[in-house]
């Protein structure tokens, strides 16, 4: 295999990986940006998205229908979580919210194991996506390319939603000056709920997209959670363009490290994070928001 083909392989792999990181991290960022809740159960919601997709597909429903349904279901689960445990915490210190969502993570992980068991699961994808196509001499799976298109579409859709629709603009404004939006007569409570549902639904999208790429298992959310933390901390908490850049950067670094040095791939990623934060504590664009 030629060098170009390998380079294409690596580039596409890193884009696919970075794309999934991005959707998870953006969901986390939106919830944080709007309601100042750092949801540590986000990785578990991502796993639930993947499992829901698996169940829907294995019932014989078309994969694309599952792609729509799974995020909706995860969004509903998000609504339930928000109402029962997150909303009562709104007035309390952020540390308690963090610990609460940590507990929620264990609860959801346990629930996943209880419902779907320990064994890894595979999502059946439509036949045409199981093919490979030739790009610059490498055979690349069609499904991975579909994933790339899906993540790009979700991100573009999200940008349009935030910048072109009225609701989106209110949300954006609420993330910068919540007091003002509140004064204008918008119910901040609905904004919090909306942000949480949107964030969870994004985790669901990432789950169903990533499920068939790899495999689904109860612990899939843990590493994703850590990786998306690295993404949002490097990108700056609450910064959208920071997250985009950081996700693609981490995707690339991790893929390159796994290809060339294998052994210390993840250490490299964490080291990079440490170095960036030592010099840029507010993230790459200095846009990080802290309490």
């Amino acid at each position: 295999m030629s060098g170009i083909a390998t380079a294409v392989d690596i580039t596409l792999n890193s884009l696919v990986l970075g794309g999934v990181f991005l959707i998870v991290a953006v969901g986390l960022n939106i919830i944080y940006g709007l309601s100042r809740v750092m949801n540590l159960a986000h990785g578990s919601l991502y796993a639930i998205g993947a499992y829901t997709g698996y169940t829907i597909v294995s019932l014989g429903v078309n994969f694309f229908v599952a792609l729509l349904l799974a995020p909706i279901i995860v969004g509903i689960i998000g609504l339930i979580i928000e109402r029962i445990v997150i909303a009562p915490m709104r007035k309390r210190s952020m540390i308690y919210t963090l610990i609460l969502t940590y507990g929620l993570m264990f609860f959801l992980d346990g629930l996943i194991k209880y419902v779907w068991g320990n064994e890894p699961r595979f999502v059946a994808i439509p036949a045409f996506m199981r093919e490979t196509i030739s790009i610059f001499g490498t055979h690349y799976p069609v499904f991975r390319l579909t994933t790339l298109v899906t993540t790009a579409a979700v991100m573009i859709g999200l940008m349009l939603f935030l910048n072109k629709t009225r609701i989106g603009m209110i949300l954006k404004a609420a993330s910068t000056i919540p007091e003002m939006v509140s004064c204008l007569g918008f119910n901040m409570n609905y904004i919090h709920i909306g942000a949480f549902i949107l964030g969870c639904a994004l985790a669901g999208v990432a789950g169903i997209v990533a499920g068939p790429l790899t495999t689904i298992d109860p612990l899939m959310g843990h590493e994703m959670l850590i990786s998306s933390f690295v993404v949002i901390v490097i990108g700056g908490l609450g910064s959208l363009r920071g997250a985009v850049f950081a996700a693609l950067l981490i995707g690339l670094v991790q893929t390159l490290a796994e290809f060339f040095i294998t052994d210390l791939a993840m250490v490299i990623v964490y080291m990079m994070m440490a170095v960036i934060l030592a010099f840029m504590p507010r993230g790459l664009f200095g846009e990080g928001k802290f309490e």
């Binding site: 064994e119 799976p141 790899t214 796994e258």
Partner: protein, 399 residues
């Protein structure tokens, strides 16, 4: 007042704690307690469950040892060595178990073996594959899955016997821990002696938590190797195989040889992507002999799970242990250990004998390929077809 309440509450909780410990039902005849350590949560939970089934089946069949009923006390190791050691201490010091059996991973096995002087009970593993278990400790035994060296011998002999596998270059990828390293190194050393080409002698070590294998698969594609030797935890085999199939690796004619035989439940999960994986194993349900046929039917009827090699060698290991206790005539650890040396059991895959020389078992094995399953009572769609049988002496190590 507050202090008083705190003190009252803590007194009550301590009282109940003591109550829970002390209040254990007294049995009419004191049973012989055996501690079973298997992972029931975590990445290899399925394998642990199958081991537990195998050991339970042996206890039920054996019924009594030393004229007393067998009582199995099962603890979840969570495949975490410190937890496993705590559980082992609980089983021995608190519950009074006279022997420990089971253990899935090499790390857990070695951690328990390191504490065996303190625990002072015989410990027989039915699944640990590391070669460090040979002659490890007078109280530590293995009667179960083929060890890494035996598997490597089986796989190399198997590859040489198969013209389509013989002249390939193998890319070696292992899971990054003791068992994976050991398995990879054993195979590479033996393959080189036998003229089998290895692409990467400093083999790839993938973290056990790897979900996305695309980088490794890209490396295999870039290397141009036409064979892959993998030493991966068995339930990852279908994951790897499936992702490799997504990238069209198998379609391009790359063949897979595995350092650990995949379990039937895992093969079902992987489906078609799992066809064409070669491996040496002590048993698969494709083995045909009266004992094996009877055993697999009984197992399936009882547990509704397709019988796996993990279940069968745990069954055999437990039988060896129970028979040794009977032979020892007492629950004295040294007497049981002496009885375990050289003991053998005639089971579904022939005679399994624990060597008196190094405390590890010798048995016949098979060379298998995963294929679309023939008509079978288990409803399995993938099966490990037996291509060749090895005699125990062929696999070594010499005694």
């Amino acid at each position: 007042m507050k202090k008083l309440l705190v003190v009252t509450i803590s007194m009550f909780s301590m009282f109940f704690a003591v109550l829970m410990v002390v209040a254990q039902p007294a049995a009419a005849v004191e049973p012989v307690k055996i501690g079973v350590l298997v992972p029931l949560t975590g990445i290899v939970a399925q394998g642990g469950l199958e081991m537990k089934y195998g050991i339970e089946m042996a206890a039920e069949e054996k019924g009594k040892v030393l004229g007393r009923p067998i009582e199995l006390l099962v603890e979840d190791t969570q495949i975490k060595p410190p937890i496993a050691v705590t559980k082992a201490e609980k089983l021995v010091y608190k519950d009074g178990c006279i022997a420990l059996i089971g253990v899935f991973s090499s790390g857990v096995g070695l951690a328990i073996a390191a504490n065996i002087d303190k625990l002072n009970v015989p410990f027989l593993t039915t699944h640990v594959m590391t070669t460090e278990f040979y002659n490890l400790h007078p109280l530590v035994f293995r009667s179960g899955q083929l060890a890494n060296d035996q598997t490597a011998v089986g796989n190399v002999k198997g590859i040489l016997s198969q013209p389509e596998l013989k002249n390939r270059t193998y890319y070696v990828i292992v899971h990054d821990y003791a068992w994976g390293h050991d398995g990879g190194e054993r195979f590479i050393a033996l393959a080189k002696q036998n003229g089998i080409k290895i692409y990467n002698e400093s083999y790839d070590k993938a973290p056990t938590s790897t979900k996305d294998w695309s980088s490794y698969i890209s490396k295999i594609k870039a290397s141009g190797a036409d064979g892959v030797y993998m030493v991966l935890i068995t339930n990852v085999i279908p994951v790897f195989a499936k992702q490799a199939a997504d990238f069209g690796l198998q379609a391009k004619g790359v063949k897979f040889v595995s350092g650990a035989a995949p379990g039937p439940v895992e093969l079902e999960a992987g489906g078609e992507a799992c066809y064409g994986i070669f491996s040496a194993s002590d048993w698969s349900w494709d083995v045909n002999n009266p004992i094996s046929d009877k055993w697999e039917k009984a197992f399936f009827a009882k547990y509704k799970t397709i019988p796996s090699d993990a279940a069968v060698h745990s069954y055999v290991g437990a039988m060896n242990l129970f028979n040794a206790i009977d032979k020892a005539g007492s629950t004295d650890p040294k007497a049981i250990a002496a009885a375990l040396k050289g003991i053998s059991f005639e089971g579904p895959y022939g005679t399994v004998r624990i060597s008196a020389k190094d405390n590890c078992m010798r048995n016949d094995a098979v060379w298998t390929e995963t294929v679309a399953a023939p008509e079978n009572p288990f409803g399995a769609k993938v099966s490990m077809k037996v291509l060749k049988t090895f005699k125990a002496a062929e696999l070594g190590p010499p005694e």
